[in-house]
Amino acid sequence: MPSLLNRLLMLMVLCCLAAGCGGSKSKSQDKTLLIAVNAPFSRTPYVGLTIADGAGLAAAADVVKTKEGTYRFRIKRYDTGLSARTAVANMRHAVADGAVAIIDEGTGINASWRIAADADRPIGITYQGGVGLVDPVDRPNVFRIAPTDHGTAFRLAEYLIPKRLRIGLVVDDSSYGQEGLKALRQAFASNPGSVAIRLTVPADAPDLAPEVLRARRAGATALLVWAEPTTIAGVIAAARGSGWQVPVYTPATGEDPVVRQQLANHPDWVDGLTFAAGRPTAEVGAGPFLSFERDYEQRFGVQLVGVKTPDGARVVQPPDYAMYSYDFVNVLAAAIERAGGVKDREQLLAAMNQVSVLGANGDQRGFNENNHEGVVDDDVYFARFEGMTYSPVKDDPLSATLAVIDQRR
């Protein structure tokens, strides 16, 4: 019996050691660490590919030398299909595959974070900004580099309320829309007079004309649409189709190529659409982002939107969301270096709070013990479409300082 116990203990120790390695060795004796990307590749390919490619760009370049040896990274994609259940199953697979960290679009995080937490694996959310997704106390392994819904909603309120508009708040019934509704409620709580009407519309509705008409009859002089890209396109189509030239504001989904693709037959309908997103350039200028964009395009090619400017130039989508997953991989690499390797998972998680890197847009990226948000709320800017491309607005102090990113090819 004692010998059986000894063997079991030995087996457990060996298993722990094997799990601790979390990667494989290349021919040059460098160890390769797996980074899982859990994103909706099949349902919203733009989002999924952007996240994976940003991570892949950093992973290809990062080499971390530690006392445990030299580490490189490789990326493995797990498709959530926007299903929380699949996202959770993917998280289990990623941990079982020995992923050192998981970069996640955000779907299903409320259930999946615990799987990673039990294995002391950091999760980096790089798209969804839901208020409750990140909590340094209750979810110490969850980090985010993406604008928060809270920050976006408050910046939108800060921008719109002084314009004395009567805003029709439109959200769809997707989880993205419902998270946005929570943030918008908080942001406009102290200025209820600015809100003409609140509407929740079905995310897959073929025609949103009745809802848009309700907003118009309620006296709305602007629409703030927090929804999936197809819903945004539907709202714009319904408004413009009825001859209503109401200004439309959105969160970052407004820049999703899908919106322009769906409105490609009426390019003028897109003109004036204003969205809030994380700034792609910082005060230091466009240099860092252009350098990142060049590297990105050299490796993955340009992201063509599929529409053209009025003078016939092809429109490309700047890889602004890709920079978040790119930055997360770099922060992870810096944390591994600080922790001296990956074998002590708790030390690696602690190191995630202590390091900063220069982000793709020139901003400092990092987390701390109080805050696991890598994009501060101040960094939300506003951009307006004109001729299928967008540029920062001039009537907001932050946006006015930012350079225009070329989107023509």
């Binding site: 390091v355 400092q364 013990e369 109080n370 805050n371 501060v376 932050l398």
Partner: protein, 396 residues
Amino acid sequence: MKRLLVTIGATFAVAVAPQAAIAEPPVVSLPWPPTVLPHTPPLAPPTEGVLPLSVRFLGKVACRERVVVGLEDDGTPHSVRALQTLAVNQLGDYVFAVPAPVRSVLPGPGTESPPGRRQNQILWQGFSPGHRVLAAWADLRPAESLGSLPLRVRVTTEVDGARLGPGEKRSGGLRVTLTAENATVATARSFTAEPDPVDLAIVLGRIRSAIRRDVFAEGLNVRLHSSMTPVEARVAAPLKIDGTLTFAPGTVQLRGARGGVVHISGLLDGLRHSRLRVVLRGRATSASAPRLELRVRTGDIADTVTPSQDQRTRLAGTIALELAYARKRQYDMFLASPDQAGPSSTTYVYRTSAAPRPAPSGVGSGGEGDHALGWIVLGLVLVAGMPTAAVIWAHS
């Protein structure tokens, strides 16, 4: 004509250059405060090292601080909390870290952005639309903070000649002694010499101007017409003190203490007058030790330089003014300001309060120890419980 003037000027310069080079007296800087004065305050935790963030903000930041020192009944400090309020008055990005031995950091009143925390750092990052207030409450580790406080306090409460213990109440002849001592005194390396009068006047003007504007004095160089003789200078930050000693209502009879409240105030320049001692005598009726609350701020620097003084005396007075002002600025910045040369002020509040209880070991650690203990308990329960359960089941 222009060419002629240039030629004459060049000729003159060549002619006088060798003489000027020979006669040129040496130019020296007044003692440089960062090297001749103690390095703290502002607090600089020993493990701080190089900040991981590159500081990004070139504009002026105004700093205001409130440092709350918790005291035992006898004046022994047990806790330090600091509220730092920074006013960023410029459009643009800001990224900076304030070094501090922090245990926790919380948003302060009126802050327009939440502070971050790292090991020995308070972090700030964001965008200022032209004006932005950043405020944080920092709970500091006493061991690394208490030594940099400007005032040492001692309170002795005796009833019938015997000391009153913590929480103890007694009746009889009361004697309370409060001692407050300026702890900012330091010795700095300095010098004496025969300075150039014009240079000295310029330097003195710069120091006085910096004092008026509450900024760091710079450009303090003078030519000397004699060799330097090293001397040591005593330097201190003057402290203005005011506050109260408060006894529980109806428990003491003290002359001049209406409602059991004794007002205290004083100015401790740290050199001629560095200690305040207050002795109170009266009657105690079931009295406990009084509660002390002192507000301490740095006071005005004494400017003793006059035109009638000889140049050596004027130099000594100018250096004393420079170093005293630098020492005062150190205590006006208990936590470092991101703009070390900018305006700053600090109010220290010394207050009797219950010492924070140390957390029981293991609680809140969140470490494996908690789980290990749980597993051990579970194991013992199973070991003891299963045979018992089996016996009960067998006989049921």
